[in-house]
Symmetry: C2
Subunit: 165 residues, 2 copies
Amino acid sequence: MTQTDNVIEDETAAAADAVADLGPLPGLIGYALRRAQIAVFQDFHLRMAADDIRTAQYSVLQVLKHNPGLRQSQVSAALGIKRTNFVPLLDGLEARGLAERRGVKGDRRAKGLFITPDGAAMLARLDVMVAAHEARFAARIGVAGKQQLLSLLHQLSERASDAEA
Amino acid sequence: MTQTDNVIEDETAAAADAVADLGPLPGLIGYALRRAQIAVFQDFHLRMAADDIRTAQYSVLQVLKHNPGLRQSQVSAALGIKRTNFVPLLDGLEARGLAERRGVKGDRRAKGLFITPDGAAMLARLDVMVAAHEARFAARIGVAGKQQLLSLLHQLSERASDAEA
DNA sequence: TATTGTTATACTCTATAACTATA
DNA sequence: TATAGTTATAGAGTATAACAATA
């Protein structure tokens, strides 16, 4: 019957551009950011699926490694995670023996967070995969391109000055 | 008594960098993308809050404007939204009189989507705010920086070639 | 049989209020 | 009275399975 020029059969991604006119969307920073983030995170999650680790969990392990004993609230704040949502996140890591809560001398309310030996071993393995993941995308834009990109992204996420509209 | 005025108690963002060592995270493309996307989308949502419009809704209105009569599945695919999740999204726009489903001649299963006059008027107003939003972030990185950024982001979200690892 | 739109459902992420035990 | 961690909960966003009508 109606045999339209149906080129791509990919249901979710990519097929987009060919089918419909997206208007001003591709020229918007936010739209391009979202698309790129989906592509990058998809690859990340695929590589981490075997170890059942998500981006937030990986980030927490990194912060614990670099800041042993930091208080729970400070860790969550450093990663932009609400302390209330951070509780079950850390529960999961602790239940798997990858992280640990310990008491803090001088303040019995607070808890200092630590990465366990098992967690450190896990993180070392993850870092290998993250390096491969990172290299994949760095290869697309080159070393100079990656530095340019990180610089631009950092400027976008910098706290807005009060002088701005 | 406790006069907690409208001063923003910045619990989540920004305070991060000073407190903790984030290790390799700031050097990762994915982490920088996520941070930038949060900053940009936060501004977008703040500006659109008064009109109760989200990014996905704005995107749909744009696609309907530029592709009147496109089938529902094609619109959702163009935006990377699963057709099953697209149903309630469009329901919302239709209930507000901003978009419309019409029958398609030749295929009584399909529905062609259209933006209504009210939707077009709404979109025109939104576009003014989106322009201001976009200008805010473009100002941070300059015109050349924005073009560089869009180019780099596009390269990252391009469909991976089979040649890649 | 396959496709279009739909319903139901579940899981993750994120956000708010309120509790506890300390300070 | 305020703070650190916690619980409960609700709302988005996103995922899969299955159905009815139609092709």
